[in-house]
Symmetry: C2
Subunit: 489 residues, 2 copies
């Protein structure tokens, strides 16, 4: 059961926008180019944690933002008070009507550096204005879904619960972070509102304060199982795990639950050496006849610690992961960018490039599509190919792909099939897409990730997945680069 509501309806984030989007929009209008049709690509350049891929997330919130985009009378009053904007522009905003086309990758899709994930086509004033919210929404949720996916893979089938709200970066960091974590593979969250809003299962039992409030740990445990006989997960590390917590838990399981014929749920350990304590705990529980009693651990976990303790033989059934997941602590930024790639002049699309002293900051111009190429027999993903939007990949014929930098590195594909990654989301400002539920997105994502080669899934030094340019795109980009280089060399 879930009470999914449209979070945007009662919340006006229109002015959550970099101020330069406003000065530019006003300037475009003033310069007579406000309605020039422009094309923008949203993409990132680097996978956080030097991982092999990201898990794309945030599209549903992006759609809700764009659907509800309007300027309140308070917004207008504020803008007018800045004494920087023309009345023509203010009146444009008062009657704002979103008319762009938007394409996007599906949420949950594994994605790679330098491929467009969201493409926007529309009047420059509008397409530019939405930059901040597009980036903020996609950067955040994709970051957290990506980190979570690493942590979940480290747990090797054990459940991972998202426990990070209190250390998140702001309220939405917690709320949409819990959503993204579920998409990335968590089984549940401690963040209650994420169940109310999105249907992410919310779970939780007790904190140390429960144990402290009672005169003794034994009394505290007894009170708990009396209140929740079916939900007896006891936190055993308030005083001493092995000498107090677990013996008291076992005593209460035997004295309070056994007579009711109820099996205990589990114990949680939140401090100390996880490997040592869980191995001892398992033995103690088993000897007491509670082989089915689960051991849950928390305390500053991430994919590296989980991998380590499991390889040491720690006896753990599930992980509660907090701050290192909800902030993607070891790599807390996804550097998505949103770049102008083309403009329309007299009905034709003119590719636009941005040069930089840093070669990785040079853009790939043009109005584009992304194809994912799969092996016909293994269904594993082989490569992504960036083409012009109207290029057609005929997968009945062999295809030669090549590295866009080391162009001598070429590969001929025979038994493959191609899938378009960018789907229409808005057409002339009208939403033409329905978001799946987070549960569906989560399942889709797990399936798509399973189509990647193990080499790409590695945490450290993964194999670099191919993201290639079609010959047409490559030639256009190269000729623009040559032209600019000749000018400034």
């Amino acid at each position: 059961m879930s009470f999914i509501i449209d979070w945007k309806e009662d919340r006006n984030l229109t002015l959550l926008v970099d101020f330069y989007e406003l000065t530019m929009a006003n300037g475009f209008l003033k310069s007579g180019v406000g309605n020039k049709i422009a094309y923008f690509d949203l993409y990132f350049r680097k996978v956080p944690d030097n991982g092999g891929f990201c898990v794309f997330a945030g599209l549903q919130q992006l759609i809700e933002y764009l659907k509800n985009l309007k300027f309140s009378s308070q917004d207008i009053e504020y803008l007018r008070s800045k004494n920087m904007f023309d009345e023509e522009f203010i009146s444009y905003l008062e009657n704002f009507n979103f008319t762009c086309d938007v394409w996007s990758v599906n949420e949950g899709t594994p994605v790679f550096p330098n491929e467009p994930l969201v493409v926007v086509k529309g009047p420059i004033m509008q397409a530019q204005f939405i930059e901040t919210m597009l980036l903020l929404t996609i950067n955040h949720q994709t970051l957290i879904a990506t980190k979570t996916n690493r942590i979940v893979r480290a747990a090797k089938g054990r459940s991972v619960m998202e426990f990070g709200s209190r250390r998140a970066q702001g309220y939405d960091g917690a709320i949409f972070g819990a959503r993204a974590a579920y998409i990335g593979g968590c089984t549940s969250t401690a963040c209650t509102i994420a169940e109310k809003l999105f249907g992410v299962p919310a779970v939780g039992t007790m904190a140390h304060s429960w144990v402290q409030l009672f005169d003794t740990e034994l009394e505290a445990f007894r009170a708990w199982v009396k209140a929740y006989p079916e939900n007896s997960l006891l936190l055993v590390d308030t005083y001493n795990v092995l000498k107090s917590g677990i013996p008291n838990a076992i005593k209460v399981f035997k004295e309070e639950l056994a007579p009711l014929g109820i099996r205990p749920k589990g114990i949680r350990i939140d401090s100390g050496d996880i490997t040592y304590l869980t191995e001892k705990a398992r033995i103690m529980l088993d000897e007491a006849g509670f082989e089915d009693c689960k051991i849950l651990v928390s305390n500053s976990l991430d994919e590296y610690i989980i991998r380590d303790v499991l390889s040491q033989g720690a006896k753990i059934d599930s992980f509660g992961v907090g701050e290192r997941l909800i902030t993607s602590k070891s790599a807390p930024v996804l550097g998505g960018v949103y770049k102008l790639v083309a403009v329309e002049e007299d009905g034709s699309i003119i590719p636009k490039i941005k040069i930089s002293e840093n070669p990785e900051k040079i853009t790939t111009p043009g109005f584009k599509q992304v194809y994912r190429l799969f092996d016909k027999y293994t269904h594993k993903a082989i490569a992504d190919l960036i083409t012009f939007n109207d290029e057609i990949i005929d997968d009945s014929k062999p295809l030669e792909i090549f590295d866009p930098i080391y162009t001598w590195k070429r590969k001929r594909l025979d038994n493959y099939y191609a899938k378009k990654l960018l789907n229409p989301i808005f057409e002339s400002g009208k939403c033409v897409y329905t978001s799946p539920s987070v549960k569906e997105i989560r399942e889709y994502s797990q399936n798509e990730v399973s189509n990647l080669w193990d080499e790409v899934l590695r945490f450290d030094f993964p194999h670099k997945y191919y993201v290639d340019l079609s010959s047409n795109i490559w030639e256009m980009k190269y000729s623009l680069l040559r032209k600019h280089n000749l000018k400034y060399r």
Copy 2:
């Protein structure tokens, strides 16, 4: 001018709560201890980035949350659907009435590990319930104010603008992050809504897309200064800074602004080697007669890069700092905790301790106050002293303070005065405190930080500021520790 609104009024975050706060609250009620009076401390154990102190922030939002705390009919419906909570508890929530006392440090105050920053006294059901939002609010804003303060100090008087919205962790990460950044010392933000909501000055000019949209960079610059002659800050790195951007900027300044008698505002460089490019840029601008034209830089800056480029002689007037500030990238978590420290039994306050295998996780029990001790002549802060709430520091008499771990390290203070850090915020659920404006908080903070010794301000290996316990607190804690150790050794 600002349009400060109460962000909480149209936004229900009541269920932004760890699920265990709800199971515990219901359990407390069921166990007959729901209205037992409990005392909680909020504090952190470690300064991010191994810095010397944090800048406390977020109190205003905490107050707004507590003032508006209620359960909507939708919240109630959701909770009922979980089939875990008693009707008595649900009815308690339906008629929820916050009755706790709350004390807090003022926003902007430099604060240190292991001292209570927020103290809550009230019925355990309520005092426990608010844990998640208290921590989330204070952890986030304190983290960002702290990071910003480091960056601003590195800039040595040059202005620092907050540019990070697009890479923030969610919408509130951007919005409240901009607020915290201003408290920490930024002069302005790109986040427009932060001006509307809090009065943080919003600024911005152009992105690369402005330059790309026009046929040439020269045309783009000309269109800009025609639209904004008084606000001519030009982004000069779209094609080539020294061969195209700056020469074109100078040309436009001369041809478009000089005839109007207007001086140019500045240029912005967002890529390449900052030291090299700004030194060259300064010479070119000076030679063209634009000595007053400012140079603004951005591109993945933080306190370390700013310190480095300034020490190399880079010619920079102001910094735009994005992702590394708004996520506190190098240390993206403040690990604030909220711990039960006492309960009332028959009218007297019983201190409660939490033991841990990790000694730094052991709590300091008791209902407490924090005094900051200042030198009477230099007005520099000497130490903080944690006392029982009713202890009085008579600063007309000498005072001996001592390290709570290395107790032989003692210091006698003669010429000092003591200030209480914890002030009443709520009394029996009623707010008794009015938040200053962010501008006032920012000024207060700068003054308080200037009262710290330089040794504490150092970025790396700062001197550890003394946070000591009064003899009374120390003796009570030590005796509880001994008692527990005897039990489990």
